[in-house]
């Protein structure tokens, strides 16, 4: 680990001032940042410990809920309003990491976590995300776990967060704070596709800090489900996951939310598949058609072709479970 200055600002304004030049990193749980610092993928000159700032509250708003960026994954997962009105969020959180890591990791940090691509994490390998212009080792290499949607010739790394998939499905947005003030950005628009600049993963400006997540309430959020498929039963990243929400009246779908994890270079919202569902009778036929639509345009590499079928089945099954009546 390279040496760094450790700063512990006493207020949000101080933190924003300290983060100004982009050479520093904000740290909350530290579970991803410290891991990456130990392997020299991250070498910040300073880290800004924001854990003592009052940003951990979960509050009701007229539109839904506001989750403070420093709320911990374990606390959000068991919050009564989350479990009741946004089950997909609670399920995605409980399917993430391990109990110890969920106690440490913050909501803001979860959304900022870096890809698990092994070439990104290995500083001896070429990686356009870590070292722009050096090439992509995954495209000709081991890519069983890599993305099939949103890929470019520069990068096929998967976005690793489960939570982000659930939040993108529910139209969550982020409150971002910088020296210029505060702004709101839809989470789906927050993440960028890799294109030719995979090192730019989001629209965060240098020194800008996520302070909260705004989660709008909806009937689809109340009837929602997260289904995660992985190589082992627990404590593992997704091969494929699906976050779905449905509003159904008299057997007819009024509103549908679909997002996929483990297959995209960003949390993958499937809007076209959603609009295809609206007005249809809830059932296997509609769900299978939606799953096919969601994977339109998928581009497999050497070893990850299986993800296309797996994602379709996962999505169709999640829709079936969400429609099944149980609002769990």
């Amino acid at each position: 680990m390279s040496p760094f200055a450790y700063l512990r600002p006493a207020s949000l304004d101080e933190a924003i001032a300290a983060g100004g030049d982009g050479q520093a990193r904000f740290v909350a749980g530290g579970t991803n940042l410290l891991d990456l610092m130990k392997i020299d993928v991250e070498q910040p000159a300073a880290i800004i410990d924001i854990n003592r700032l009052p940003l951990a509250a979960i509050e009701a708003t007229p539109a839904g809920l506001r989750i403070g960026a420093l709320a911990r994954m374990s606390d959000v997962a068991i919050h009564p309003a989350i479990a009741r009105d946004y089950p997909v969020v609670a399920q995605a959180l409980l399917a993430s990491a391990s109990p110890q890591l969920r106690n440490m990791a913050s909501i803001g940090g979860n959304l900022m976590q870096r890809t698990r691509c092994t070439y990104f994490r290995d500083t001896a390998c070429a990686c356009n995300k870590r070292q722009p212009g050096s090439g992509c080792s995954a495209i000709p290499g081991e890519n069983r776990r890599h993305a099939v949607l949103g890929v470019s010739s520069a990068c096929i790394a998967v976005h690793p967060s489960d939570l982000a998939v659930a939040l993108v499905a529910l139209d969550a947005s982020l409150r971002l704070r910088s020296r210029e003030g505060e702004r709101s950005v839809p989470l789906d628009a927050f993440y960028r596709l890799p294109g030719t600049t995979p090192q730019q993963e989001n629209v965060l400006r240098p020194g800008e800090l996520i302070v909260a997540v705004d989660l709008p309430a909806s009937a689809a959020a109340r009837r929602s489900r997260y289904l995660k498929i992985r190589d082992r039963a627990s404590f593992e990243f997704a091969l494929v996951s699906a976050a779905v929400g449905l509003e159904i009246a008299d057997g007819t779908i009024r509103d549908a939310r679909l997002a996929l994890g483990g297959v995209g270079t960003k949390p993958w919202r499937a809007r076209q598949a959603e609009s295809g569902l609206v007005g249809k009778m809830a059932g296997d036929e509609a769900f299978t058609a939606a799953a096919d639509a969601a994977l339109q345009g998928a581009q497999p590499q050497g070893q990850n072709r299986y993800k296309i079928d797996l994602a379709k089945r996962t999505l169709a099954r999640a829709l079936g479970e969400a429609a099944g009546g149980a609002e769990t």
């Binding site: 040496p3 200055a5 530290g30 109990p99 110890q100 390998c125 070429a126 090439g135």
Partner: protein, 371 residues
Amino acid sequence: MESILPCGSGLLPDAALQPIPEVGMPAPDFSLPGVGKRPIRLRDFRGHPVILAFAPPGWDPGSAEQMAVLNQAAAGLLPDSVRLVGIAMDGPWCSLAVEGEDALRFPLLRDFDPAGGVAHRYGVYGKRAVIVIDGEGILRWKAVMANGILPRPELVADALRAIAPAGEGILAMNRRQFLLCALAASVVLHLWPDSAHAETPAGAPAAPAPKPLPPQARHVTLKVNGAEHALALDTRVTLLDALREHIGLTGTKKGCDQGSCGACTVLADGRRIKSCLTLAAMEEGKAIVTIEGLAQGERLHPMQAAFIKHDAFQCGYCTPGQIMAAVALVREGHAGSEEEIREWMSGNLCRCGAYPNIVTAIREAAAEAKT
């Protein structure tokens, strides 16, 4: 009078700011706990080239299953007429058995914790590294790699050049130097056995990193098992390393050091966390409880007693972390069924496979806690 830095010592702020020795500079002295009472000091080996290996605990170059890897790596470097037939460790001495020749002995100091004081002093904190010091006490070669990095063939060539006499080619080296260098290269390759034969993918090499800051020191007060400890720590020190290396509470274990294995689990303000993925400075002000803080005097915590009763471990290395996680699990109310216990213990690995007994112990301790 040179100052001697004990292995694993706390680094005082001024020590942290001493320059890191580069190739060609005198190697700073240090002492290691020796066999018996007498510590081993680097200066004791003056006259012999010395290899320092900063490797995971338990690494043994002489063990049978590792000989094949070492021999394979050395084979490519040694002349055809020289065949390495064995490596044995006798305290700090490494003995190379060579077919038809007398054994070659030289010091190989290998029990360095990558997070200890010597690693700090040599600028390889948290890294896997091999350092070669010549008989005059001058640092001659340093190979540093972060975990998970592929070794590069150039490293071996660098090592050969480092030991070759000035102005002469590699072939001018005598056989002893050559063997030593071959062993050093083998050691480096061996430290990453899985990746030693992997190809380094094509692409432009990484740009040189900007010159790093000097190490930064900070005063940190930690509250552990009810006692306060005022420490002067490098900012990079994790809670785990602070507990083990600076406070001396070695019950909390370092397994993977990357949040995967759970051996380092402790409680912070009553919540279970992985102490390897948080900085000591970040945990200031919290009440930390380690495995040493569970028993009441001679009376074991019920979870400790249940682990013993049900034989819930074999080698015991993961056990402190398992017990700390299990104590938290019961408080969280996740001991309802065997399935639930397994899911909520998934952050703790046991390579001996004691899982069935661990689950049984937790069920019993949880049932007792209710009554």
